[in-house]
């Protein structure tokens, strides 16, 4: 009971400080609970989506002729295959598709749009309740991507219209397509009824196929993939496996949950630093009392228990509150995931993990208190009674004596000197400012980088005004040739570079044959930045994407054996580049392309100055139908749009949290500092030092610490921050992201925001110095 009374009194004495530390621990627990909940829920929901929709374990896309009997025979003889189905898709050009009330077709869309019917045995397209969609004639189910991007609703219209027909549909459902959900996947399936499908194919003849397999054992996916690709079965198009579907689906929410958890760890570090400061200043204040308690024979363990009980109880209560609050806030974090992936029934572990995560925060807080409170061992009764303070300040170099400061204003000097003298204490504020700066600058840098057109270089593409993509269609080779001929004769075009991606066979490290998609052409125009080495120049050189290279475990200068025209050809790896497209696994060579296995054609071109890119895009869209023409920004926006939106949200949250934490901690720190310094302030006041002068001393301290924090944080953001972001993105194929820095935002607006908010907070927080009076100090 005595301990309870002491705790109650202590709380009332330091209400604000206790509440702030409580809030930090609570927020940290809240975020760690929500972040871990998001991860568990993401994994659980993905599993559920994948199991209900029966996602194929291996999919080979194919454009062109298809011999189903050959596939059936091969499947029947392959022991790994459990089930096989071939999905026929009618490919629709964006210029023929009108969504909602829009009068404009989707001609600038970079998505490969196709119309399908519901599958019979697996790879089901699900609705927003994760039920297999049944569609009636006249109805259509639209990918959830368009629901979000175009803000579409059930009942909206979709029409397919070309010169010879106009077919209208009403949206009856939105599709969760486990294969093609994410915006980073450039293929989208629309679902129609069998009747409508038959009708569409009378007008729209372009077809593509998904040759899909379910295996007996998912672990065999790699072996199966190799076996299929070397079987000579249809393969004009990329192949994707189950694991990649999972990675692509979980990417956006995975990044968000990672950021949320990092944020919670940051808050926890700040909470612990605050706790340390709070505990140490309490010990400092109570130093003499602790001496008295020791002197009258109370053991240090008993004294420590009083402090430990308070902070452990606070940590536990704050963590519990944070966990409970997370139950209400989880929806905010999971809304994007719920839309794309859906919600699975909650499993037991889903309740336990977030609770456990909050519990860990509580444990860390407790252990930190135990460590901080070891300081009690160092206090001797005599020392405490005699000096009344722990004498923790550092000895100052003679040069930092006031008498040696000839020019500096006295109050600025005194403020700055105090920082050096009590650096161990001030380090808290400096570290917090450092974290807050990093925390605001890194996301801003990354957002600017991903929004910049320079981001194209992480997509394995050189910068050009316009990009033309020509996917599989009838007479594709002729079309490509006539397109190139037309472009070369176009006086508006400054320069252009046609490239062909085709499939080759390579001999892997184990000596087995494996397919590799190689882009061929002239790489001297629209050059890429290479991580290592350079672009291929001669016919025996090949450049690999970062992920391909990592998987093959090669370095520049190493050899790679290709089979070209039936003969072995030894290639030298001349460069490694970054590419986040096509699963990150691509290659480039200056070889003639493989005519038998062309996957797609592209042309990059720059226009002469003064030529309107948008008009040129329109002109080429009409002339080169069904080729897809996009300008650089449009291409980036459509590919990275969703990710940019998510990162924008994260950036706004980060900047707000950074500012809020700076303000809170500055206010808390200064309040505690002034409480501890009250006798010194009173002495200064009695000697005639004005309130204004004392304020200058304290604001100097805040601003100097803030400046150091901003400088350290900026350096950290531009170096380690860049590496952290690169590390995260290396999973997608970009291992060396260089920040595009918006100097005005990063070096002017953000620091200015921090400086203004910290200065205002400091000015408000130090109003307490008015109360310090010498008569009270003397009375003590």
């Amino acid at each position: 009971m005595i301990i309870f009374r002491i705790l109650k009194k202590d709380f009332l004495r330091k209400k604000i400080v206790t509440i702030v530390v409580f809030v930090f621990i609570m927020l940290s627990a809240l975020l760690v609970s929500s972040g871990s909940n998001l991860i568990v829920e993401l994994s659980n929901s993905l599993n559920s989506l994948f199991s209900i929709s029966k996602v194929p374990h291996f999919v080979q896309m194919h454009s062109g002729e298809l011999d189903q009997l050959k596939i059936d025979n091969w499947s029947a003889s392959n022991s790994m295959v459990k089930e096989q189905q071939t999905v026929e898709m009618i490919t629709i050009d964006g210029s023929d598709l009108y969504l909602g009330e829009s009068q404009k077709p989707e001609e600038n869309s970079i998505m490969d749009i196709s119309f399908v019917t519901q599958n019979k045995s697996f790879d089901f397209l699900l609705d927003m309740n994760n039920n297999i969609i049944n569609i009636s004639a006249g109805e259509i189910a639209v990918p959830v991507y368009y629901m979000q991007q175009k803000n579409m609703k059930i009942g909206d219209k979709v029409s397919l219209s070309n010169k010879s027909s106009n077919i209208k549909f009403t949206i009856s459902a939105f599709i969760r397509d486990a294969q093609m959900n994410p915006s980073i996947v450039h293929s989208k399936r629309f679902l129609v009824s069998n009747t409508d499908y038959q009708m569409i194919q009378t007008t729209f003849h372009e077809k593509e196929y998904l040759i899909e397999f379910l295996l007996h054992d998912l672990k065999m996916a790699d072996d199966f993939s190799k076996s299929y690709l070397s079987s000579g079965l249809p393969g004009k198009g990329p192949s994707v496996d189950y694991n990649l579907f999972k990675v692509l689906n979980g990417l956006t929410d995975g990044i968000v949950s990672g950021v949320v958890i990092i944020l919670s760890l940051l808050l926890m570090i700040i909470a612990i630093l605050c706790l340390r400061f709070t505990i140490l200043s309490s010990i400092e204040e109570d130093y003499r009392e602790i001496g008295v308690l020791k002197a009258i024979g109370i053991s240090r363990n008993d004294i420590r228990k009083i402090y430990l009980l308070k902070y452990a109880a606070m940590g536990a209560l704050a963590s519990l509150t944070g966990y409970i609050a997370s139950l209400f806030l989880n929806h905010f974090f999971t809304s994007n995931m719920l839309m794309y992936i859906g919600n699975a029934p909650k499993i037991f572990i889903q309740q336990i993990i977030p609770m456990g995560a909050a519990g860990i925060i509580s444990m860390i807080v407790f252990l930190s208190c135990v460590i901080i409170l070891r300081r009690f061992n160092r206090i001797t009764a005599i020392e405490a009674l005699r000096s009344g303070n722990s004498g923790d300040s550092l000895k100052i170099n003679r040069l930092l004596h006031l008498k040696n400061s000839r020019i500096t204003p006295v109050n600025v000097f005194l403020g700055a000197r105090d920082i050096l003298q009590r650096f161990r204490m001030y380090a808290l504020l400096c570290i917090v400012f450092f974290f807050c700066t990093s925390f605001t600058i890194i996301p801003v840098h990354f957002l600017n980088t991903i929004k910049s057109t320079a981001f194209i270089s992480y997509m394995g593409i050189g910068r050009s005004d316009i990009r033309i993509d020509l996917r599989q269609s009838d007479n594709i080779a002729e079309r490509f040739e006539s397109m190139v001929a037309r472009i070369s004769g176009d006086s508006d075009v400054k320069r252009f570079s046609p490239k062909v991606t085709s499939r080759f066979i390579m001999i892997n490290n184990e000596g087995a044959e494996e397919n590799i998609n190689i882009e061929t052409g002239d790489f001297s125009l629209f050059p890429l930045d290479y991580l290592e080495g350079r672009a291929p120049e001669t016919a025996d050189e090949i450049a690999l994407s970062y992920l391909n290279n990592r998987e093959m475990n090669k370095k520049t200068g190493d050899k790679l054996m290709l089979i070209v025209d039936g003969k072995n050809k030894e290639m030298r790896i001349c460069g490694i580049y970054q590419d986040v497209t096509n699963g990150g696994k691509t290659a480039k060579a200056a070889l003639p392309f493989n005519k038998n296995a062309v996957l797609w054609y592209t042309v990059s071109l720059d226009l002469n100055t003064g030529i309107n890119a948008a008009e040129k895009v329109r002109e080429y869209s009409d002339s080169f139908y069904p080729a897809r023409i996009t300008d650089l920004e449009g291409y980036l926006k459509q590919t990275m749009g969703n990710t940019i939106e998510q990162i924008k949200k994260v950036t706004i949250v980060s900047v707000s949290v950074g500012l809020a934490v700076s303000v809170l901690i500055t206010s808390l720190f200064l309040k505690m500092l002034i409480a501890g310094d009250s006798s010194q302030i009173a002495i200064m006041k009695s000697l005639g030092v004005s309130l204004h002068q004392i304020r200058i001393q304290y604001i100097t301290r805040s601003l100097l610490l803030l400046t150091s924090g901003i400088i350290l944080g900026t350096v950290f953001s531009n170096t380690a921050g860049q590496n952290i972001i690169s590390m995260i993105w290396s999973f997608m194929g970009a291992s060396q992201i260089r920040f595009i820095i918006n100097t005005v935002q990063a070096y002017l607006i953000l620091p200015l925001l921090l400086i203004i908010s910290v200065t205002i907070t400091s000015a408000i927080s130090i109003t307490g110095i008015k109360k310090s009076s010498i008569s009270e100090i003397v009375a003590e």
């Binding site: 000096s387 006031l402 006295v410 006798s679 002495i683 000697l687 009076s773």
Partner: protein
């Protein structure tokens, strides 16, 4: 004698809780002349220190007037009051109250630098002279934890003198010192007073008070007696007789 400091009908009340009031000073009227050396005595709780803090402008009085060099303190702003304390007044406390993060020398020069009345070079020179005079010249770069109570009190006196104040206020300046140190400090104060600086100090010690030329006696918030002892010659016989006279008077006053 020219009046330096004057209190007229000075009252000070503290509000305790919601309704209770405690009146510490009751209708105080005093005048301190330029160059005068005055002490205030009285039992504990009689209001001595409160009077000192109120007439020096450190605390705000409840009613009445305090005039310093003819300027009424209650009409001054916080900044003007600070300026007055910085430039025209010096303070010596029972516990030296030096700033703990500054060296002894820096403690002495800090208010000098802030007053900006002369160059930093001259302030340093003056501080060194004062330290020489008070016998602490060797402690300039020491931390305040590296000096004895008497040495710190001397440093406090140096600090009080750095801006050539018109008056020095002392709140039990010898209260925490041993007899020898207390004697030395009083000698210093006498010397300062001889140079024309007024001194007003609160003390319990009759020996200290006997060195001053006038003793005010306080009881229950009022000045109940004002005894003039005249200038002390400094001769041992004179000091002894002043002490005896004062002790006798204090006994009569009931202390």
């Amino acid at each position: 004698m020219e009046i330096l400091l004057e209190a007229k009908n000075l009252n000070k009340k503290y509000v305790i809780g919601k309704q209770n009031e405690l009146q510490i000073l009751k209708d105080i009227n005093i005048q301190i002349g330029r160059g005068e050396f005055v002490s205030i005595m009285g039992p504990s709780g009689s209001g001595k220190s409160t009077l000192l803090y109120n007439i020096s402008g450190m605390d705000r009085m409840t009613s009445g007037k305090v005039l310093f060099n003819g300027r009424e303190l209650s009409t001054l702003t916080e900044k003007e009051l600070s300026g007055l304390r910085l430039n025209k007044m010096g303070f010596i406390f029972q516990h030296s109250h030096l700033l703990k993060n500054l060296s002894i020398f820096d403690n002495i020069i800090m208010t000098g630098y802030m007053a900006k009345s002369t160059s930093r070079k001259l302030i340093n020179k003056k501080a060194r002279e004062l330290m020489e005079k008070t016998g602490i010249a060797g402690l300039a770069d020491n931390d305040i934890t590296q000096a004895s109570g008497g040495q710190l009190q001397r440093a406090g006196i140096c600090r009080a003198l750095i801006n050539n104040p018109d008056i020095i206020f002392g709140d039990e300046p010898t209260g925490a010192l041993n007899t020898k140190s207390a004697g030395e400090i009083m000698e210093l104060l006498e010397e300062i007073n001889k140079s024309g600086t007024s001194i007003l100090l609160v003390t319990h010690d009759a020996r200290v008070a006997s060195k001053t030329e006038r003793v005010l006696f306080m009881l229950d918030g009022r000045i109940v007696a004002d005894k003039k002892l005249g200038k002390c010659s400094g001769e041992s016989g004179d000091i002894k007789s002043r002490e005896e006279k004062l002790t006798q008077w204090l006994l009569e006053m009931g202390l």
